[in-house]
Symmetry: D2
Subunit: 455 residues, 4 copies
């Protein structure tokens, strides 16, 4: 019963992988749970679809994709590197089901606009993933427990990185795992950018299980290098896009304002977001969380378009109607200008608490293993013909160039009005002073020029 196979393989059409192949009853049943179906209603890239309008895909399709890549890895390992004896460092196909379930469910704890929501309400999608997997109240738990009583905990431990088999853990979570490979390809496909494209078939072909986890055959080194560069470029070009972050800032302030109004008992009855109350009051349970999705939050925002509070109403409209805050980059040296700029924003009639923000986005594209690090990374190992392992950045000058260096930027957000052209507007002198501090899209201490910042 544990890993009962379907009488006939079932497939799901997928634009990225062509087909998602399902052979296990358990997988099909997990897909059909309310907890998993709910992922259809949560966008994978959140506010990024305001910038790349094609990016409307959900965590549901991504999760199926991660499952499918994991399945392909297992198939490859089973065909080419099957374990002959315990401890030989090869692939033990009895690990397949736990790997597939972990792949499918790795994101199940995500909520709407995940990172922003967590930031405001103190939820933690990883903890919630664990609870969904291991709480007897969920459908997911019930299906997993049918395999064997401790199977839910096993799957959770893969996602937690505490599962003993490092091959299974690294499939789902490492610097080159099924999760990242699917989201790069899928985000590239849906945004219409091609930075995220890399040769998945070749990367999968050169994967090798070994006692320490998963390594890559030397003759596929360039395919792995290409993946790292793709990931780097997607962060620079898509995930850290300044306009997305301008929308994220608005969302943050909007939820903060709602929370403030609720805590201040100002919320009028008709406008109270019923499903958010447990979060305002920090009393939420798992079922409260599972009721949320992008549409639920947006529905409250739509309601608030008629709310008396100007700030709540305005921020809701800005969010729904895509009116991002504008931004400039700043450096530690120019950060000193921010208090004065906030003052100017205030003088121009905007509450700086809700209409300005500092926002930074940094990513470590790749790093070697560093035991001293707070969060040591599993480095990417390249297998030489004589079976010795070499760490990727020691072989690739391109990877070395971006290895161990967090890249990203720090930006100051403010209302677009501050970039107004000179008119006879009352605020023109304020705008002009403000713009005086901007050159080439960044703050400067002197020497102003007109910025042609473009969203």
């Amino acid at each position: 019963m544990a890993d009962q196979l379907l009488p006939r393989e079932k497939v799901f059409r997928d634009p990225v992988h062509n087909y998602i192949h399902v052979r296990h009853q358990v997988i099909l049943d997990l897909i059909n749970t309310p907890e998993f179906q709910r992922l259809r209603r949560i966008k994978q890239l959140g506010v990024a679809s305001y910038v790349f309008q094609g990016a409307e895909h959900s965590r549901f399709t991504h999760s199926l994709g991660v499952y499918e890549i994991t399945r392909q890895i297992c198939d490859n390992f089973q065909s080419n590197f099957p374990s002959q004896a315990p401890g030989d460092g090869l692939w033990d196909d009895r690990e397949r089901l736990v790997a597939l379930c972990a792949a499918l469910l790795h994101d199940i704890g995500h909520g709407p606009y995940s990172h922003t929501f967590e930031h405001i309400f103190g939820t933690d999608h990883e903890a919630i993933t664990r609870r969904i997997l291991t709480s007897p109240e969920t459908e997911v738990y019930k299906i997993l427990a049918r395999v064997e009583p401790d199977f839910p905990a096993k799957v959770a431990s893969v996602i937690d990185h505490t599962y003993p088999n490092p091959q299974v853990v690294q499939m789902i979570s490492s610097q080159i795992d099924a999760d990242r490979m699917d989201y790069l390809l899928r985000d590239a496909y849906n945004t219409g950018t091609n930075y995220g494209l890399f040769d998945l078939t070749r990367v999968l072909r050169v994967m090798r299980p070994y006692a320490g986890g998963i390594a890559f055959d030397a003759n596929g080194m360039h395919a792995v290098e290409d993946y790292i560069v793709s990931r780097f470029q997607m962060y620079q070009q898509v995930y850290f896009h300044p306009v997305s972050r301008g929308m994220e800032v608005i969302l943050t302030h909007l939820l903060e304002r709602a929370k403030f109004l609720y805590e201040d008992q100002q919320f009028e009855d008709n406008f109270i977001p019923q499903l958010l109350i447990p979060f305002f009051e920090h009393t939420f349970d798992l079922q409260d969380y599972l009721r949320l999705d992008d549409g639920v939050l947006n529905t409250y925002f739509i309601t608030w378009l008629n709310y008396p509070d100007t700030i709540l109403r305005d921020l809701a409209a800005r969010f729904l109607n895509r009116k991002p805050l504008k931004s400039v980059g700043f450096m530690p040296a120019t950060r000193t200008l921010l208090p004065h700029l906030r003052e100017l924003v205030d003088q121009a009639g905007f509450n700086p608490e809700y209409y300005t923000a500092e926002n930074d986005s940094f990513d470590l594209p790749y790093d070697q293993y560093d035991p001293a690090s707070a969060n040591p990374k599993t480095q990417i190992e390249i297998i030489q013909p004589d079976k010795t392992l070499e760490e990727l950045s020691s072989l690739s000058p391109i990877v070395a160039a971006i290895s161990g260096r967090a890249t990203g930027d720090t930006r100051f957000y403010f209302p677009k009005a501050m970039l107004g052209k000179p008119t006879d507007d009352l605020f023109t002198p304020i705008y002009q002073e403000f713009q005086h501090y901007i050159l080439n899209g960044a703050l400067i201490l002197e020497n102003p020029m007109e910025d042609d910042n473009d969203d």
Copy 2:
């Protein structure tokens, strides 16, 4: 002011057309209206994403795509067939802006789950489109009216097919128009099927303006033929998919049940769908309509998961968690079985009013112009080298084969339980009798076999 150009072309990344190019301030302003941004929150294919999970794209991206194809047609016409004198049947580029606006806005009146919603609540997305374009209260109207006072009405008349220039009308609405071309390509791209693919570049290249509208150069006849076949196949394979229709049936019954409960004054306060009340009461105005989107409806469905009424609660759960009704095809002859089958469903414990349905889906893939028809079609004309026109199906045996014939099917929907395998279940005899009437996915009058119907 009328058709003020942007200082610099603005582009939107698009996975289907690579870039959407915008040069007019009016177009950019229209995109930024609340009415248009709202289309981001309405899926282009509605419930079809339950079958083709990649089909998560919105009417927003489709509308930009229709705009872009129209822009390319205008560019081509202006480069190659510019009018030299009034009435010469060539392209007058002063028509460009009205064409672009109509293309962009042709779907602006759509609401959530459009066809189902209209069916229940008697709304009409075409009438609403007209109101959005021509009501002084909308942002869209204000922007259009800035071009010239009667510009909103002009744009509306293109969408209504009453605009005097047939080239402009046919660009947006004919048997081979920018709307259809975009949705075929986009739906194919996102579903991951390739039935919808055809050679857009070549079709655009062989388009020719003439006094009666738009025709196609003879040497591109096969590209047009391929488009017709693609369209035919997308209807057969995607738009009419029996499982999507099984979800649509559930949605219909769910909204009907909610309406019934409301009209019957049974709705408990906490569960009343505030934003739907104007629709239950037939008092809705344009603003009521514009507040709706897929997420708003889904939010009510989520609320109803805890509603006391069993039918409402169960149908909401089936819809959110993708539990489609199953179906079999039937013909006029086997339709006589339906009352008895409904009875069996009833005996098995399901209210047939809410758990069975007849559903038909028919489409006319292509037709010649027929003045006697209730809805005569603009036929596709092929231009011969001597400038005479020939109707497409007279040249293409493939098109002739599917011309003038509505294709589709009629299906009976019922709960999956009715297909239960024989067990010691109380209802087994009922199930068995039910299944007795099914062979090869269709109803039969006798001679039963086990069906392996698969969703």
Copy 3:
């Protein structure tokens, strides 16, 4: 030894199938024979690359592609439909190697500009294929014979359609076989047209072995239909392109002229095409044939650019430098004009024997099995859920529309000069009379108009 596997799978990068996977030593050895490597030097589409310049791919890559599709069919059959008992109509994987070899070698008898060459020299690529497979002198034979002594004959019998297992025969040769599927996709890829695209993955997925050969699951009927339409369109648009045929006509006349000069003992020593002598003299053996390729023929043509005979020299230059003859369509009724048109061509200074031609191209896109036919086709069978078979055209109106009807056209070829514009040229009146018989790219009996025929 028979089907010895490689220690590790070997792959060939392929733009159409991504990778060609080879596991058998025999396959690798066959690829490395001189007979097979020679296919690199023979273009798959011959003169069509003069019209679709990307179509430069060889019979070598196509042959690998046919092998790969066959391999995928075998894998699918072995996974999903393995024979349990002799005669159960399922797939016996012991047939795999013979199928793979036949797939790889099905075109090995092709020579340069195959159809034209055969026409002039009376060679027969099918007979030569058989000889390459079964003559002890070839490397191919030696490798096949290592499997078992009668293996060469077995492989040949698959290609001859006399092999007893109809599944194997139909994989390689039927109305929907690995050969046709690869060439449609590959020709589409390289020409840059997309008429030839269809959903290979889905077609392979719905293939089913049965006692009578290979059938297709009903739920994949539309994928099969799409393939038939793609094939139809590739013939209409690519394979029958009038300009390619205009180059083929020149090639035919060029080889005829060379043969005439040789037979007439006019060939000067320096210009004699040594490698063609056995063909001029009908004394060629297999080794003579295997020395030929596109480059050998072209090398003689290059030499002939300096040959004294005006016709040989001019036709060689027209072929190398792409100066196709022009053409018009004709019907039985207008065929009567041809003698007079040839006369006009003669009057204009061109020997009509070498500068005019009739050329027809017809294909039967699909047909039902017809035992009365000279060449009865294996019809495409669709399996219903109750396991009954239905012939494809009885289910698909599109296929029915093109079924059993040879489509194509008959064209008259002549020098481009005949389409000359009116000038004070001596021949102007002749040109004008000639053009008088052409309307809309076809011959007419009266009522002339200027043709803007375009290549």
Copy 4:
């Protein structure tokens, strides 16, 4: 007359750019010259098609592609950056025709297996390009001279980098020019690798003319970076592939042997390669050169398969039948082993002059301008919003990592027999000693292991 336009745009289908658009009569006439049509018979990647079998495309299709990219750049410049006054650094569209002709013809001097042939026979494709453009005997010259008498020299000066307008020169020849962009995309398309893919549309969109040539808008910096990385990876993975180089070594030795036999007067009459005599004798003129193509050389090789000289015959067979020499990498330190290894090859029965070789392949992926360099590069400039220019590698850590560093390797080639497995073969001890010096695909001074080198 100079730049007469066609009555109607003419297009060529292209798999990479979809269509090649031609509007000028001159361009069409140049394409139809014998000198240009000859490029159809010369493979773009030469022997690389022995490794990436899809790479069968010719210099003809590549040349059309370079033309098309140049045309798109001109269109973009003319639409968005038209010169308003002489010397304003913007685009003067009167430069279009010279740019298009130079793009189309930049490779016209290439011969068969270009680099190898030049190496043996001392030809120089750049000098020959110049002669084709400027010798009154060629068709190309005649067509160019129709534009204006000094137009041939102008076009030649663009290719020579001496043309005064740096924008025109850099379009055709710089570190990011139409030539490189086309070959990366086309080679990637045809090999089926995707390392060469980059976002051409975006790169073209961010190109800007300025007084010093062509620069790139800052917001497109990542697209340019991606192009540099793509180019780097194509060199590493495709152009420098060790097996291609193993075929090139054979070709070199084969031509050297033929030259030796000719010079030594050993060539028997029947086997003398007539068209090569002028090259053996260093007396060739332009017409001799223009008669050569891949097929001509291969035809001689086919003839030589029956030649008495063992080395010539064997090398011809190895080349035609794809039997590459094998190789190992070496470093300056291990180079000292080569004399001894050659001795072992000799002992094993192979003439080391013809059966071993050193081969290095190095490329400088990108470099800054260095006036001290022998061949200073035009560096890639990024335009900041305030119009200042920044050199690319100062902005991109990835580009900096590969900038100014020639990358590649040095390999020693030898017969595959040297890697023979231990048998009772007479030569086994020699093979074993030889293999003793190889580890992980490279020479080592000690510490041997079995190499699983794979082609």
